[in-house]
């Protein structure tokens, strides 16, 4: 049918139109606006799943190319649906539905424009994943960042505004670097289309090649600020800790945008077909990723607040993915993609869960707990002949506690959940290189060690946080948890459990995606060969591909 070919632009157009129409509705009618948001986000998820199915069933690397304005690449901007981009759009849709469901309980009323900003955020993220043009990527990146500033500031308050000021400043600086990098790449290659640029790189020489590498490095720094590589990530734990719970849950996908772009560009532009620049930046990514894992692990152990712990878990996951990209092996990339899916779902659920677990606690309870542990009086153990054989645990506390345990297992990478499978696949791919004659390098061993040690750090930190939150407090009122708030957490964790129960089809899909990324010739040919639709004849006729 003719309309299905426009499915590829729907993840961008639908939230845009929805946000615009929300602004036209009187802001006092929040219920109408909220229902519009729900309808749009659920439709987005369905569209994303449809695109995912199309990509799954497609024989070729690229399942769809959409020419904006009907101009063929490289003259026009293209949207490209391949396995990786549709996967990321589906992840964004999932996180959107989860975070919206949580926000509908009460957070959406903390500010007047939550719903339009939420839709623009989804639009920016979807556009960043689907686009095949570098400057279009900049535009969607800015849209995504602008909406994230709004979401971070949602709910206001001194701490949030201070964190917002820092976040916005760093975001703007990263945007400046992005512009410098893109313009350098344009001046050297003469094109902004990613596929076309990949074709032209092989034939550059001398000064042009130096400028290309400089431009790519500057561009890379801009994305690594977003992805959270050390030492560019010092803003991240503070910013994510200050955000409201639904905003923080959605921010889990923002770091993955940075990682996605680094993955896409490093393999497309500096893969084997890049001539003398093949593999440019891989060593830096590996070293930076390892340092990020180390920083995240140490930070997780040192966090006194459970929100900062969650921020450091984001860093550990980013560092693992960046180091995996730096290794440059298709099997490692495939395992890293599985780990990406699992860790994104887990972190999002964890951010939502923290808000639920913090209810009923005295503000600053974490700091009090640390002080009590270090300096407090040693209290006598409770006597054993108190009434009853156990303590009554309210159902809400039990549910939140069990979810906390699951999140801890997922983030640390312990069995039986999908975090373990992702980590195990990663470790197995690290010590079994695709090229059987190659030795296992020092970098691979270092990454193996750091992945395992970071898991240990997360276990210790999460166990301590869990004990402080659920077991140790002298008095706590049971948290009041609404079903609409707990359901997204439960669904995200159930998805992780399903991933662990049947990982094989997902693994096949992701490994095929990784193989296609490491052999980008198909991508390049299909994008550049996409033909514009024939112009509709006046008065009659149909446009056909």
């Amino acid at each position: 049918m003719a309309w299905t070919q426009h499915l590829l632009i729907a993840p961008i157009l639908l939230p845009l139109v929805t946000a615009a129409s929300m602004l036209l509705i009187d802001a006092a009618r929040q219920r109408v606006i909220a229902m519009l948001n729900v309808a749009s986000t659920v439709t987005l998820l369905l569209i994303a799943v449809a695109l995912l199915r199309l990509a799954w069933q497609s024989e070729s690397a690229v399942s769809g190319v959409y020419l904006l304005g009907n101009w063929p690449a490289p003259f026009g901007i293209v949207l490209v649906a391949d396995r990786l981009s549709t996967l990321m759009v589906a992840l964004a849709g999932l996180l959107g539905v989860a975070s919206l469901s949580f926000a509908l309980a009460r957070w959406h009323r903390a500010g007047v424009y939550f719903h339009p900003i939420f839709q623009i955020q989804l639009m920016g993220v979807n556009g960043a994943f689907l686009t095949g043009d570098l400057f279009n990527l900049f535009v969607f990146f800015e849209l995504m960042l602008a909406a994230s500033y709004g979401l971070l500031l949602h709910g206001s308050g001194a701490a949030r505004v201070k964190a917002g000021l820092h976040y916005i400043t760093i975001g703007l600086t990263a945007s400046m670097l992005f512009l410098i990098g893109v313009s350098l790449l344009y001046s050297v290659t003469g094109t902004l289309n990613m596929a076309d640029m990949a074709e032209r790189i092989a034939s550059l020489e001398g000064d042009d090649r130096v400028l290309l590498e400089v431009g790519a490095a500057v561009l890379g720094v801009a994305f690594l600020v977003k992805a959270g590589m050390w030492p560019l990530n010092l803003w991240l734990p503070g910013a994510y800790a200050a955000a409201a719970a639904p905003s923080a849950a959605l921010f889990a996908i923002l770091t993955k945008v940075g990682v996605y772009v680094v993955l896409r560009l490093s393999l497309l532009l500096f893969g084997d077909g890049a001539g003398a620049s093949a593999g440019f930046g891989a060593d830096w990514l590996l070293i930076g990723g390892l340092l990020t894992i180390a920083f995240g692990a140490i930070g997780a152990l040192g966090s006194q607040d459970v929100r900062r712990l969650a921020g450091h878990c984001v860093l550990i996951s980013s560092g693992t993915l960046l180091a995996a990209i730096g290794i440059g092996d298709a099997r490692v990339t495939g395992a890293a993609l599985f780990y990406l899916v699992s860790s994104t779902l887990a972190i999002s659920a964890f951010f939502l869960l923290i808000e639920l677990a913090e209810r009923g606690r005295v503000p600053g309870a974490d700091v009090l707990a640390v002080t009590m542990e270090a300096f407090g009086p040693r209290e006598a153990p409770p006597s054993l002949d108190d009434e009853g054989a156990g303590i009554a645990i309210p159902a809400a506390l039990a549910a939140v506690g069990i979810a906390f345990v699951l999140c801890a297992l997922l983030l640390a990478g312990l069995p039986p959940v999908s975090g373990f499978i992702g980590k195990f696949a990663l470790l197995s791919a690290l010590v079994n290189p695709s090229d059987p004659s190659a030795a296992v390098s020092v970098g691979r061993w270092a990454m193996l060690a750091l992945v395992i040690l970071s898991g240990l750090a997360v276990v210790v930190a999460m166990a301590r946080a869990g004990i402080r939150t659920f077991w140790a407090p002298p008095e706590r009122t049971p948290p009041r948890v609404r079903v609409i708030e707990f359901t997204p957490v439960a669904v995200l964790l159930a998805l992780c459990a399903a991933l662990a129960a049947r990982p094989a089809p997902v693994f096949d899909y992701l490994q095929t995606a990784a193989d296609a990324l490491h052999a980008p010739d198909d991508y390049r040919e299909q994008v550049l060969a996409a033909l514009p639709a024939e112009r509709r004849a006046l008065g009659s006729g149909e446009s056909a591909r």
Binding site: F135, V161, L165, I168, T169, M176, I180, V367
Partner: protein
């Protein structure tokens, strides 16, 4: 010509970076504005600096880029200017909100007085 533009870009971005690293929010915003001016000039200069060549096709002249200024970087600059303008406006509002909520225009939300050694910022 290239030397002039390069010096201008260098001066703008250098001053901007220095201001960006200062402790007062207004200096940070001015620094970001200067950097954005410098970067916009940089993007424009990536199209090649050519005198008296408008990016408009003329009748009869060859349709070859060698005779015209490259229009694409000019379009990129316009986009970047618009986006930068919106972000600066947003950052100004956040600056005002931070000033109102924390009572100070220090970027960290509180003044650093070296004499005060009693009150520590609570661990975040």
């Amino acid at each position: 010509m290239e030397l002039l533009i390069a010096t201008a870009i260098g001066g703008l971005v250098g001053s901007g970076v220095w201001l960006l690293l200062r402790q007062r929010t207004f200096q940070v915003i001015i620094g970001l504005s200067l950097i954005s001016y410098g970067v916009n000039l940089f993007i424009f200069s990536m199209g090649g600096l050519r005198v008296a060549a408008a990016p408009l096709l003329a009748d009869g002249a060859p349709g070859d880029l060698a005779a015209y200024a490259d229009p694409l970087p000019q379009a990129l600059v316009l986009t970047a200017i618009v986006i930068g303008f919106a972000m600066t406006a947003l950052l100004l509002v956040v600056l005002l909100a931070a000033r109102g909520l924390s009572g100070t225009d220090h970027v960290d939300g509180r003044e650093r007085r070296p004499r005060d050694d009693d009150e520590e910022e609570p661990p975040a």
